[in-house]
């Protein structure tokens, strides 16, 4: 029988470290996915994931059962990502820069390009397009698209009204649509 997150937290606080390891195993994929898509760099995402669970473990006694553990740990992860992102210079990449950096040679052999774009290139383009978004839009898109959270849950995690979350989602998708336009044309 699988224990709930709350039960595992209680056991951890009761002196069973293995219970927290179970929580880690349960949530590490989601948290790593979130940090990877927020930060865009594998190594940094791994560090941020580690940091997230470490912070959660240290602050577990402050966790209140009123909120879901998932919301709480997502919030920790997002805070860690935002701290790291603030350390970088905000760099919204232009479409031309994206083309140059991502290696798309649209003018070279346009006729066959649709057949030759590989999964890796699509992934790279998506990654770069997401990284070009402002963090407040990116985090909403990542939580919705990749974590499958409801708008109300995202609003709860971010402490924002649902309408604001939807507006950010709309703006973010519009921006992504523009940024991925060349990819769509290529396909």
């Amino acid at each position: 029988m699988d224990l709930s997150d709350t039960q595992l937290i209680e056991r951890t606080l009761g002196g069973e470290p293995d219970a927290f390891n179970m929580l880690v195993r349960r949530w590490e994929r989601q948290i790593y996915g979130l940090t990877l898509r927020m930060l865009g760099r594998d190594e940094e995402a791994r560090d941020a994931t580690q940091e997230t669970f470490l912070s959660a473990y240290r602050n577990l006694s402050k966790f209140r059962g009123e909120a879901k553990f998932s919301s709480w740990i997502y919030r920790i992860a997002l805070n860690i990502c935002n701290t790291r992102l603030r350390g970088r210079a905000r760099n919204i990449i232009s479409l031309d820069e994206q083309r140059e950096a991502s290696g798309f040679e649209l003018a070279a052999d346009t006729e066959d390009l649709g057949n030759h774009i590989q999964q890796e290139q699509v992934t790279r383009a998506v990654r770069r397009a997401l990284q070009g978004l402002p963090a407040e839009m990116r985090q909403v898109i990542v939580m919705k698209e990749y974590e499958g959270l409801k708008f109300s849950e995202i609003a709860d995690i971010l402490g924002l009204p649902v309408s604001t979350v939807k507006t950010r989602m709309y703006t973010g998708l519009s921006e992504l649509r523009k940024r991925l336009e060349h990819l769509r044309e290529a396909m």
């Binding site: 790593y32 998506v126 507006t167």
Partner: protein
């Protein structure tokens, strides 16, 4: 990945999408600024609209080409976003096993004790002994007659008269002096123990060196004796050989002389006048 129910404006194939690109651009230009159904569009796109909201938005879609194109464009973006999936999952281990931590600490202590020099070991043992002595109420003092020890068990410390007055500041001062004296004595004792340990180590090394020297000397003497014996043996053999040689040389000479003597009378008789058979 949620797909909007009801109307589905997604193109059938990639090529149809490519053909639709020019249409997208055209319709975006024709989009009326009055259309502000962003939230409804997003809720409909992610299937979070209530049935009533979904029905109303579908009705709107029939009349708004811009929203239709936008919905189709967003669905394509979502498809592209889903291409990026996490393959490698990092191994995250946050909580260290306390048993392992305890074992490793003991292991470190053990290793440390193994590699430390003998005088440090001796000092550690002396320090531990002093701590135990201090805990058991043992006092050490250095007087004219040398060190003096006195011990009392922890439980038997209540020898102070409860009715006795509280110690005066002067008495406290005296106690501090005694404490300082005790500390000095302890420091002296530790230094002495360390010096003794070093001295013992030196003596042990010296004794070992002497033993080695003696052993080497004995070995050397034995070897010399063997060599002398062999030399003497060889000398004896040489003398024997020389004697044999002399004997052989002597007999040959005798033979020669004897043969000469045997031949000499014959010559004398043959040469004598009037002699013969």
């Amino acid at each position: 990945m949620g797909k909007p129910g009801g109307l589905d404006y997604r193109p059938e194939s990639k090529w149809e999408r490519v053909q639709e690109v020019s249409g997208d651009k055209m319709n975006e230009a024709n989009k009326t600024p009055a259309c502000d159904k962003h939230e409804a569009l997003i809720a409909y796109l992610y299937k979070e609209a209530t049935p009533d909201e979904a029905r109303r938005f579908e009705t709107h879609l029939h009349d708004c080409a811009a929203c239709r194109q936008e919905l189709a464009g967003f669905e394509r973006v979502r498809e592209q976003l889903q291409q990026w999936q996490v393959v490698d999952l990092p191994i995250v281990r946050v909580v260290a096993d306390p048993q392992t931590a305890r074992r490793s600490f003991l292991a470190v202590l053990k290793e440390l004790f193994t590699v430390m020099p003998i005088w440090v070991k001796a000092a550690s043992v002396a320090a531990m002994a002093l701590i135990i002595l201090a805990l058991t109420g043992t006092s050490v003092s250095l007087g004219r007659d040398g060190f003096s020890f006195s011990a009392r068990m922890i439980g038997s410390q209540s020898t102070v008269d409860p009715s006795a007055p509280v110690a005066s500041p002067q008495a406290r001062f005296v106690n501090d002096e005694q404490l300082a004296q005790l500390r000095a004595n302890l420091a002296t004792l530790v230094s002495q123990k360390i010096a003794e340990s070093e001295q013992q180590q030196k003596e042990a090394l010296k004794a070992e060196l002497v033993s080695l020297q003696s052993e080497l000397h004995n070995m050397r003497s034995a070897d010399l004796a063997k060599i002398v014996a062999r030399v003497q043996e060889h000398q004896s053999r040489l003398q024997t050989i020389e004697r044999d040689l002399d004997r052989r040389e002597g007999s040959d000479l005798t033979d020669i002389l004897f043969s000469e003597m045997m031949t000499r009378p014959h010559r004398q008789t043959s040469n004598t006048p009037g002699g013969g058979d």
